[in-house]
């Protein structure tokens, strides 16, 4: 049976930003509903379960969430929404309609996957993906692993894989050594972050960490057996049976774009209170610009307070300003290099859902034309993987977002109250 829920604040996404927003709004006395696709709150970074412990700060936030009185709607995907404001949610094969005074979008980020020959082979996966699988109980003991890609996430994932008994062969950061060094030098103001990086590095000391090295190809018969890497001059191959490869994060903008929130520089534009261009819609965390867990928490707190008509403390706003500067430096240091635009060969699949090879696409097209001619971006992921890749490769703007946001049975839409 379809159910209708009325609430003051509906928060989408139960990662750090959404949890902070839900806590602060509920603690102000607002009725709060928190929706997330995963079975438990915490998002990707605080993913916990079978094999995972989480930091004390994360446990404290999740305990605070339980006490806050916010209603959790987990295992639930938002399929449609309007800024008036309501959400249509699919949960366990049923349809929920959530009517709220205010929405807080805390939809997080996903990994940026850039196509290269062999990237569709089984056992080629994301960097955060390996972390998520480790936490959900996968054993990588004895596996021969190469980690290649970009960003600070490479370090904790490499350390976690080594600690889990994987035979880590190489950690390759595509960013040039000079950029990584400059970024690290700028961390002196944040000794906690430097200490954390050092601790992660100590977790895989026997494995080289090389900057200015990137993936060129993966090979194997039915599954990964070998990877080829390059530093732009030399190219070499290594045997391995797991490649963790992603080039940083991209914000999940499908819901903000469906609602027609104003965007700026590839992220949701927000004011001092985290309010978007729409009066009843706030946004916090990665969708306003990828920037990590601390920034997401602060933005979530401010958004939750604002959605409950409360001003944010001055201390929160000052921390947000500092963390936004840090995020901008991080994005600049680890931005994907131009050479990554030329990894795919004509036979490399770009759209993995519909198996569309690069040779079938013309750079002068846009995403809409690629869809119409080749079905690129029209499979179940709805362009979430190939869209950001094609934006990077060809500068194609994302196509209009239409409901349903996730594939859903027609019977569920028919159930709408």
């Amino acid at each position: 049976m379809a159910e209708r829920i009325e609430t003051d604040v509906a928060v989408v996404g139960a990662g750090p930003a959404g949890v902070a927003a839900a806590c602060r709004a509920a603690e102000c006395g607002a009725r709060v509903v928190l929706v997330d696709e995963n079975p438990r709150p915490g998002g990707q970074i605080w993913r916990h379960g079978a094999a995972a412990a989480i930091p004390a700060a994360a446990r404290a936030w999740l305990a605070r969430l339980q006490r806050s009185g916010a209603r959790l709607v987990m295992g639930a995907a938002v399929v449609d929404a309007a800024p008036e404001a309501w959400l249509l949610v699919e949960q366990g094969g049923h349809c929920l309609r959530i009517e709220a005074r205010q929405l807080v979008l805390a939809t997080g980020a996903r990994e940026l996957f850039l196509p290269f020959p062999g990237w569709t082979l089984p056992n080629v996966m994301g960097v955060g993906a390996a972390q998520a699988l480790l936490k959900s109980g996968v054993s990588f003991r004895g596996r021969e692993v190469v980690v290649a890609g970009s960003g600070p996430l490479l370090l904790p994932v490499a350390a976690a894989l080594a600690a889990a008994g994987a035979r880590l062969r190489l950690v390759a950061e595509q960013a040039p050594a000079a950029d990584v060094r400059r970024f690290a030098a700028g961390l002196w103001r944040q000794p906690g972050k430097l200490a954390l990086a050092a601790r992660y590095r100590a977790g895989f000391l026997r494995t080289p960490y090389r900057t200015g090295v990137w993936i060129a190809a993966a090979r194997g018969d039915g599954r990964l057996q070998q990877v080829t890497l390059t530093d732009g001059r030399a190219t070499w191959s290594m045997a391995c049976d797991l490649l963790c490869c992603a080039h940083g994060l991209v914000p999940n903008l499908e819901l903000p774009r469906l609602l027609r929130c104003g965007l700026a520089q590839g992220a949701v534009a927000v004011d001092e209170q985290q309010r978007t261009s729409l009066a009843a819609v706030y946004c916090a965390g990665e969708p306003t610009g990828v920037g990590g867990v601390e920034r997401a928490l602060v933005e979530g707190e401010i958004a939750g307070l604002a959605a409950a008509d409360q001003p944010a403390e001055a201390g929160l706003r000052a921390r947000r300003a500092r963390l936004r500067r840090f995020a901008a430096a991080l994005r600049a240091a680890f931005r994907p290099r131009d050479e990554l635009r030329r990894l795919a060969d004509p036979r490399t699949l770009v759209c993995r859902c519909e198996d569309v090879a690069l040779s079938r696409l013309q750079p002068g097209w846009g995403m809409r034309q690629a869809k119409l001619v080749t079905r690129t971006g029209m499979g179940p992921c709805q362009g979430r993987i190939c869209g950001p890749a094609l934006e990077f490769l060809f500068g194609w703007e994302p196509d209009t977002v239409r409901p349903p946001l996730k594939p859903v049975a027609l019977s569920i839409l028919g159930e709408e109250p």
């Binding site: 696709e37 995963n38 079978a50 990994e111 996966m125 998520a132 959900s136 039915g222 979430r384 594939p407």
Partner: protein, 75 residues
């Protein structure tokens, strides 16, 4: 049960974890017939789709294991 084989998993494991720990690498077959396994492990890419208790296209990375569950790969 994975493709008719009985397996035991730790409490709280996902279906993706059960399959990978059982040595399964090809979760589904792509439209052109290629084997595919998990890419994002976060519910975004839909590469880990399997049939669970007769329901197709379930994302193995999001589904918790429950006793008596029947999982079919290769769809």
């Amino acid at each position: 049960m994975i493709d008719g084989r009985s397996v035991t998993v730790e409490a709280g494991a996902t279906v993706a974890a059960a399959l990978l720990n059982d040595g399964v690498t090809a979760f589904r077959t792509s439209v052109a017939g290629e084997p595919r396994g998990p890419l994002c492990a976060m519910g975004v890419c839909f590469e880990c789709r399997v049939k669970i208790d007769g329901v197709p296209h379930r994302r193995a990375c999001l589904e918790p294991c429950v006793p008596g569950q029947r999982i079919e790969t290769g769809g």
